[in-house]
Symmetry: C2
């Protein structure tokens, strides 16, 4: 062990998503040693520890952070634990990769951001769609002027896993946040919009709905105070002058597509349209007045309805160096080696910014007024 120079990572939370998104990648990173994992009941942690050969198994995150000689932790828990666990990790000087959304509200995320910056740890938020090949392509092209100045657009990220009832803690105001799906899926497209466009959302007008007894009910009129929003729409004013419609929902029937990510960007010079779902993805571009053309991208699997819809067709880069947990580990290696950081992570600055927009959308829906961010 004295000669093992790999960074030591602990996982807080041992859910299906830890198994899907974090462990396959982190355990295959040559400079990472996954040293410990914890879960409240211990059983889930034991199961994943056995599957991935992880030595340390804990029931207490604090105990794990105190004892397992870690360099950093990944926090993969219900949203209400992101803030206390992140603060506990930063107090111990640990690097942190936190699941999205960064926390429950802007007060928490601002505190987390300040603490991380002051401590000088490497901080990341798992906005796992940033490295999607279509997102990367659009971001570069927008920077190169492909759409000119943004006039209007549309972002959608939807699923249907809430149609049979609120999806566990994600659907609980106390554990997931009032925004519900806005925290869960909406946080991705809020981040993506600003990431791709290099632009900032200044103000929003929001609408929140709960699915109650088979119909949509305004969030302010729901009968269960702990039910988070199931379907959210909002309009966003961007600093550049463009305005964009966002829709996010876990009660939108998907057929059998599993989920839908749709992005449309329309500017003075041209347009992008992107759609990804369980069958694959498609990106098209047109200069104003020109032909629509499909952009062929390595790593973007085409929409093929003969395939079985799957996470792997939706985000095929999951088990690669484009997974944000791999990139976060690389950033830690750089920091430890005293190198200048070259990896642009979705960090707590981005996570804090997204959360303040979420808060503004909820405030707007509750007051019926446009809310500044």
């Amino acid at each position: 062990m004295v000669n093992d120079k790999r960074i030591r990572i602990g996982l807080i939370g041992a859910s299906w998503f830890t198994d899907l998104w974090f462990l396959p990648v982190l355990t295959s990173h040559p400079e990472v040693h996954v040293a410990a994992i914890c879960s409240k009941n211990g059983t889930n942690a034991e199961t994943l520890a056995a599957k991935y050969g992880i030595a340390g198994v804990y029931r207490s995150a604090e105990e794990m952070m105190d004892e397992a000689e870690l360099d950093g932790v990944c926090i993969v828990t219900p949203n209400d634990l992101h803030h206390p666990l992140t603060m506990a990790a930063i107090e111990r000087g640990l690097h942190v990769l936190c699941e999205k959304p960064l926390a429950m509200n802007g007060a928490e995320t601002a505190a987390m951001r300040r603490a991380a910056e002051q401590a000088g740890v490497v901080h990341g938020v798992n906005f796992s769609v940033r490295q999607h090949p279509a997102v990367q392509y659009m971001r570069r092209a927008v920077k190169d002027g492909a759409i000119g100045r943004l006039l209007e657009g549309r972002f959608e990220y939807t699923g249907d896993y809430g149609l049979s009832g609120p999806p566990g803690w994600r659907g609980s105001v106390r554990s997931g946040g009032a925004g519900g799906v806005l925290q869960d899926l909406g946080s991705h497209i809020i981040d993506l919009s600003q990431y791709i466009l290099g632009d900032a959302i200044d103000a929003v007008q929001g609408s929140l709905r709960c699915l109650e007894s088979g119909q949509g009910v305004d969030f302010t009129a729901r009968s269960n105070a702990d039910q988070a929003a199931d379907s959210v729409a909002f309009l966003a004013d961007f600093a550049s002058g463009g305005h964009v419609a966002f829709q996010t929902s876990w009660v939108k029937p998907q057929g059998n597509n599993l989920q839908t990510l749709a992005i449309e960007l329309h500017g003075t010079e041209g347009s992008f349209k992107h759609m990804s779902c369980g069958y694959g993805g498609q990106l098209t571009y047109a200069r104003a007045g020109g032909e629509w053309e499909t952009v062929e991208l390595p790593g973007l699997l085409p929409i093929d309805r003969a395939e079985t819809p799957s996470e792997d067709r939706f985000r095929p880069y999951r088990n690669s160096a484009d997974n944000e947990s791999w990139r976060w580990a690389d950033a830690i290696v750089q920091a430890r080696g005293g190198q200048a950081p070259t990896i642009e992570l979705p960090d707590f600055v981005a996570g804090d910014r997204v959360q303040r927009i979420i808060d503004a959308v909820v405030a707007s829906a509750e007051t019926g007024k446009k809310a500044n961010v």
Copy 2:
């Protein structure tokens, strides 16, 4: 002429759209005689009169209505003339088919509706997309329970004919109305949403933009007070509990699709997705959790990018009995014969309702507050 029992119709306005949409259909209707046409300059009326063999040519609409022994008029003028011309026609007991939007604001449309109902004339608004085969199919299917209860949706009607500058009177607050594209294209999708869903928009949150010096500018901050909105987005609360995002624009680059009509309806039981553009149209349906299936419709030309984009691929029913001017003429024939009306026209009730929603969207955008309809 004493034996000519055809109804006598006059056209007010002799634009390219009169030529495209009204005259080919009305002159081929066996029970219609197009007796007169007028235009302010007289030249346009003369040109179309020669093309279609119309005997009466006028420069004054009032003179035409007084002299040409008409049963009804079609009003195909800038929006600011819809109210005075309609009132003048109703005073003379004439049936009226008015272009959309019905008028400039809800005060005008309410007066027009009252006058038409009191006079007992046949009143129609040329919401020319109602008879689109996909619209008709969705309306019947929604009534039959295909989507269950509406949860969320999306309506888009966009073009790019304003990218090079405000499109004539349509882009003028004085002649077209403050809503601009919201009056021009938006009126269609507002009407379609309520028509298809059998549901009513109760409240809206709106955002209006003008294209100014190559960038989007909030409507309230535009430098030319007569410039109408070029790009509009709004969220609508439906009485059923669903919430829906609307986007309409004449500054949205279309590639070479000419225009885009997109409709998504998502309910507790299933979903429709429709898209029509200059290449044709597509309608798909999925029960919640089921496969997406293409709905084959006679009269819906498939999207074929080998074709030249055209109005005829977008609305192939234009020169048929499904054109609203044909249906309005049929309704007049029924009324004249004392038959019970069997034709459901987009009437002044619908036009008035649409206008009050337009007014609410503009008010919401100006105040930054949700506006009740």
